[in-house]
């Protein structure tokens, strides 16, 4: 097939080929984006069932939230301990080792708590959601539901979405709290920073609205993003073993990038101009 440009001469294939490739990718990307948006809107519209039959959401809260607890608690503890150690090493040079509590608490509540918890959540719970829904599709369970006039979005997707959105802020809060405890453990108990100074400096500089509430808002946004991406990738996965594995990989990669990008945008809005 030889295209002709508007002025009548044929476009040589070595220019048209790559251009056609770019065009196809853009169109496919837009299709997918539109499909994802419609899927997300449908999930929200049909989520009444997730609350009327809360048992379904409860089960997803268990799988997304409770089973992620161990990894969140352990990582939080270690992140807090490392922050305490590194912060102490640096601050001590300036004779400000008392401020280590401030450093640990602010970095955890503002950034590390929501972001690292969301990254862990994406790889622990998000990938599982994608794989589960992708396999349900591959084994035609989704089509079977449609046959029985059961709406798969209301029955399968909705509860998972709300389970993820509810558990994310709770996990981030647990991460931050355990992290602060880890920092306390290393700096106060092991190194011997004064306990009173540690807590009072922290309380002086951590603001309830500015730092803690903004951290919670961040984690809610990340929860929505990660769960929506995971569910869409699962629902959209080609019904083959290869398709499901590719979708699981895409979930982790896309949601991690989405978390980091959203974090930058949210931080730019929340923590500037004060």
């Amino acid at each position: 097939m030889q295209e002709t440009s508007s002025w009548g001469r044929p476009v040589p294939e070595r220019i048209a080929g790559p251009l056609r490739g770019i065009g196809r990718q853009v169109i496919d990307g837009l299709w997918r984006l539109g499909y994802a948006t419609r899927f997300f809107a449908l999930t929200l519209l049909r989520s009444a069932m997730s609350f009327r039959r809360f048992r379904l959401t409860m089960r997803e809260l268990y799988f997304a939230g409770v089973l992620s607890l161990i990894i969140i608690v352990v990582s939080g503890l270690f992140v807090g301990m490392v922050l305490g150690l590194q912060g102490y090493e640096t601050l001590q040079k300036y004779g400000a080792s008392d401020a280590v509590g401030t450093l640990v608490a602010l970095s955890l509540t503002r950034e590390l708590g929501p972001v690292v918890a969301a990254l862990l959540f994406a790889s622990r719970a998000g990938s599982a959601m994608t794989a589960e829904i992708g396999l349900m599709k591959a084994t035609e369970q989704i089509s079977a539901m449609e046959m029985m006039a059961v709406d798969p979005i209301a029955r399968v997707v909705g509860p998972r979405f709300w389970g993820g959105v509810i558990s994310m802020p709770l996990l981030a809060a647990i991460f931050s709290a355990v992290g602060v405890f880890g920092g306390y453990l290393i700096t106060v108990v092991v190194i011997g920073v004064d306990e009173g100074a540690f807590w009072s400096q922290m309380q002086n500089s951590v603001d309830l609205r500015q730092d803690i509430a903004n951290g919670v808002i961040k984690s809610v946004v990340f929860g929505v993003a990660v769960t929506a991406i995971a569910l869409f990738e699962g629902y959209d996965a080609p019904p083959t073993a290869e398709g499901v594995s590719g979708a699981t990989t895409r979930t982790v990669v896309t949601s991690s990038l989405a978390i980091l990008g959203l974090d930058f945008v949210l931080t730019a809005f929340m923590f500037t101009g004060v």
Binding site: L170, W199, Q203, L208, V216
Partner: protein
């Protein structure tokens, strides 16, 4: 995994999350020390120079936090900084209280210090304090010191 076990674990999870939020708010954050707007009164003070004073900086008297800096503005009539302080209602101060901007430590954060006078009348809501002392600007101090040293050297 049966229903009751799932319920139990989800209950534990949600309770742990709420406890973590409470710990963050009360132990890490300043929820326990934030004053409610209901039981504070506002006083104004004008300064030649406020240095690095920021809103929400503590207002201390005898080293005890009695309030917070509410807002900082510029008065274009007197060309001075106008600072509004929120003081806890439990602590009334006499009208001849002096307000100064102090620094905790050499390089620490700046705060507002109140020193009570001997007047019988107390400051009312919205009143302006007359006795103020500006922040010490380190550069000016060093400049003055160098100038004095040079003058001393010249006179010898």
């Amino acid at each position: 995994m049966n229903r009751t076990m799932i319920d139990l674990w989800v209950g534990i999870f949600v309770a742990a999350g709420i406890v973590a939020l409470m710990v963050l708010a009360l132990k890490v954050g300043n929820a326990s020390t934030t004053f409610q707007t209901g039981d504070t009164y506002r006083i104004h003070a004008q300064f030649e120079n406020i240095g690095g004073l920021k809103p929400r900086a503590p207002v201390k008297s005898a080293g005890v936090v009695v309030g917070r800096v509410d807002e900082i503005g510029f008065d274009s009539k007197s060309f001075r900084a106008r600072v509004t302080l929120n003081i806890d209602r439990r602590y009334p101060f006499p009208r001849d209280t002096s307000v100064s901007i102090l620094t905790s430590g050499l390089l620490g954060e700046q705060y507002v210090g109140l020193e009570a006078g001997g007047d019988d009348a107390m400051l009312k809501d919205g009143e302006t304090v007359q006795l103020t002392q500006s922040a010490v600007v380190l550069e000016k101090l060093i400049g003055q010191f160098l100038y004095n040293k040079a003058a001393e050297g010249g006179s010898k």
